[in-house]
Amino acid sequence: MTDSMKRRSFLQGAALLGAGMVSKAGAATLPEAPVQGSAATAAPLVPPNGRPYNPVVTLNGWSLPWRMKDGVKEFHLVAEPVVRELAPGMHANLWGYNGQSPGPTIEVVEGDRVRIFVTNKLPEHTSVHWHGQILPNGMDGVSGVTQPSIQPGKTFVYEFVAKHAGTFMYHPHADEMAQMAMGMMGFWVTHPKDPRQHAVDRDFVFLLSAYDIEPGSYTPKVNTMLDFNLWTFNSRVFPAIDPMVVRQGERVRIRAGNLTMTNHPLHVHGHTFEVTGTDGGWVRPSARWPEVTTDVAVGQMRAIEFVADNPGDWAFHCHKSHHTMNAMGHDVPTLIGVDHRGVAEKINKLVPGYMVMGEKGGAMGGMRMPLPENTLPMMTGTGQFGEIEMGGMFTLLKVREGLARGDYRDPGHYRHPKGTVAYEWTGEAPPAPSAPGGKAGRADGALDVRRGGASTGHEGH
């Protein structure tokens, strides 16, 4: 391990598995290729040498250490099959870099000369495209166009100057449909030369990716185009996406890149923000406008900034509601309002273990029933007030007073000041009016759609 590696600290038991990717003979000329085995969020990588910068935090990921050689920052990416924990209880056979998918975040400084060694340990050829970088054509990584593809077992070298500060990513441009569906991607941040420029207190980065992994299987279906069943931040799903923890009053930046095949309206609660950057560069302050949701189109990157002035546990998620769900049946008919009395008993005789679900809505009312192997409940997670009923692209922005600088540890549930939580009306109330015709054609009571149900008859499942 390099000294810089030894100095690194990790959150939640993250650990490097060590180097040794290349032969001893090659080690004399090739930089080390560190490997990450944990899916936990690593602490920011404080630059041990080179120009100073304010490091980013990769949600459930890490940044790639480098070595300086003759004033050039040398990185070593190893493209290889990996097993990624999407959430406890579910693992995916993916392809990634240096032990993880997505690969490590590469952080450099505007003007740095960068040399990246890419070793291909995949069963097929690959290449790396440096999305958004302005570089010599022959370094753009489009196999067949700007270079021959990197065959299995081969190492290629990319070298260019990181000209512009901004938010970028890298991904293959060889069999990219399959390779991106398998998780080949990574974040890239070029920091400004002057660390005070665009400085923020916390800078979170992640990539949006989607997978179609049939429950009971482990490998994504690479031919799926739109009907994915797992929507992820950095190949993680809620409740396994780490919260974004910030101290009240800090300036926060969140950068996201979209490598799925649909757009994702990212929405933050409790704050307004401005889009300050795209993969094209920084947005002039005069061109910014306030948002609480920003749509990240396919192949785009967005950097948003705000001051976390509002303490609490704030939802941060894609606003497409199916994207905040885990694996679910998209052809399951709606059962809301369907009276199951009598039928349920008949079905139970034919299918022992059958439980009625969905007749009062989609919520499972805390039911925990056995599932196929290697999949996750459609909606899951428990908060201090009960079921969160979320999955996929969902996490929490946790704003707290008095956190230490650089402290990213989960502070637990927010303690609401007295009288600031929605409460039940217990006074006298007239019967609530119903819309006319609302009960037409339905058995009595069947229309009482309750969410997070009182789970009558569901106990013990």
């Binding site: 008919p333 809301i336 309002g337 039928v343 008949k346 079905i347 034919l350 029933m369 196929p372």
Partner: protein, 462 residues
């Protein structure tokens, strides 16, 4: 050529006269002769119903057997006693026996007295006529009737064995058909639940008329299947009932709900061919026919100059001519008619020999084929039981897990329930084929095979 002299003939007939006098009725219409044959091949007795006491005994037996769900062995037992067509055949045996006994008895001597008056002359003529022909032909007739009786015995036994096999098969078909009704009802149950849920979906405004109609159509067809299966079960049961000879309240007998389980292992029979040749009644019958024609050939050779038919026609003895003596004249044909008869008998014999060979060849082939079919049926049934059904169960378990994860709907769950039952039904079909194959094997091998150790006792004996 052995030409019997009248004197020797007379001596021989005298001896035979003494011998044939022994032929008498067995008292049970000959059933005593076939009962062991039938029992060995069916596991159940064959008896003629003669008296009220027999009938009462049968009624008691029926009452006892029909108080319980009727087993295959019980059905065979009943059929052998209560199938009236079979009873009619049993009496065939009585007829044959009567013929045999009759053939063994000499015609009674006739005493004639003639008083003639003519021209003032009175002549009184006394004659004692004795059917010499029957005396001569008695041993032959007795032997022929003996063969006839033997043949009838074979036929009746074969018929009883056939009825037993038919009954066993009808029993398997009837029980399987009942199980098929149960299967059809379960499928209809799943379809009914789907249709009912579909109706509720429609009422709640969640489904189109198209979706609802699709589920209803499936249910309607499933109900038609139940009706068809019920009809098939009725037909199968009535077939069995006919074989059992039951009617009235006795026809309301109960059958077991399921076919017997597949034995832990199939029968391993090394000598199917030998067993078939040894045990099969058709082979035995062909063998007897050969022996019969052989002795007929021998007889023809021995009596080629004795025109038995002509002798038989000489009924009247002219007692008037010679009052004090009897003379037997035998016609001795001068043309080679007897030789032709011998040639015919030889041809008949050779025909019988070849028929026996053919029967034996067919029996061997049928034995091999039935045994192969039996083993295959066992393998198929075991495959269903050990592979298909567990896999179907696994699929159902996984379907339920997917339903739990809201990956599949109730309708898919019900569709799977239908498919699972379809697999169970296929297993019942394979099991039915196995038991039918076993019955066919028994028929091909000439009789009941020793019981196979049932699965539950397998451990104790090994």
């Amino acid at each position: 050529m052995n030409i019997k002299s009248p004197l020797r003939l007379t001596a021989a007939t005298a001896v035979l006269l003494a011998l044939t006098g022994c032929a008498s009725f067995s008292g049970d219409a000959g059933m005593g002769a076939i009962d062991p044959l039938v029992q060995a091949r069916t596991g159940a007795p064959a008896r003629t119903l003669k008296t009220e006491a027999d009938r009462r005994a049968l009624d008691e037996l029926l009452q006892a057997r029909l108080a319980q769900p009727l087993s295959a062995d019980g059905a065979v037992e009943i059929a052998l006693l209560n199938n009236r067509t079979l009873q009619a055949s049993y009496w065939e045996l009585g007829i044959a026996e009567a013929d045999l006994v009759q053939a063994g008895r000499l015609q009674n001597p006739a005493f004639g007295y003639q008083h003639m008056r003519g021209g003032g002359d009175v002549s009184i003529e006394r004659t004692l006529t004795f059917n010499l022909v029957s005396l001569i032909t008695a041993p032959l007739a007795s032997r022929i009737e003996g063969r006839q009786f033997e043949q009838t015995r074979q036929q009746v036994a074969a018929e009883a064995v056939q009825v037993a096999a038919d009954t066993r098969r009808a029993w398997v078909e009837a029980v399987a058909a009942t199980q098929a009704v149960e299967y059809a009802r379960q499928v209809a149950g799943a379809a009914e639940a789907s249709a009912e849920l579909g109706q509720r979906m429609r009422q709640a405004g969640n489904w189109s008329a198209y979706d609802q109609a699709r589920e209803q159509a499936f249910y309607a067809e499933a109900m038609a299947d139940v009706a068809r299966a019920t009809q098939a079960a009725t037909a199968a049961r009535e077939h069995l009932t006919r074989l059992l000879g039951l009617w009235g309240t006795q026809a309301q007998y109960r059958l077991p709900e399921r076919l017997p389980e597949l034995p832990a292992a199939p029968r391993d029979i090394a000598d199917v061919e030998q067993r078939a040749v040894r045990e099969r009644l058709d082979v035995q019958a062909a063998n007897l026919a050969t022996q019969r024609t052989a002795s007929a050939l021998g007889l023809s050779r021995a009596t080629r100059f004795v025109n038995v038919l002509e002798l038989g026609a000489v009924r009247e003895s002219d007692g008037g001519a010679k009052a004090r003596g009897y003379e037997v004249t035998l016609e001795i044909p001068l043309f080679d008619w007897g030789g032709a008869r011998t040639a015919r008998a030889e041809a008949v014999y050779m025909q019988a020999v070849n028929r026996l060979a053919a029967t034996a060849t067919d029996a061997r082939s049928a034995a091999r084929e039935s045994y192969q079919a039996y083993r295959s049926a066992y393998d198929v049934a075991r495959h269903y039981r050990d592979v298909v059904i567990p896999l179907r169960k696994k699929l159902s378990d996984e379907t339920l897990l997917r339903y739990n994860g809201m990956l599949l709907s109730t309708f898919e769950l019900l569709a799977d329930a239908r498919e699972q039952r379809s697999a169970v039904n296929a297993y019942v079909g394979a099991l039915k084929d196995f038991w039918l194959a076993e019955s066919s094997l028994e028929t091909a091998l000439g009789g009941r095979l020793p019981a196979v150790v049932p699965p539950s006792q397998q451990g104790a004996t090994q």
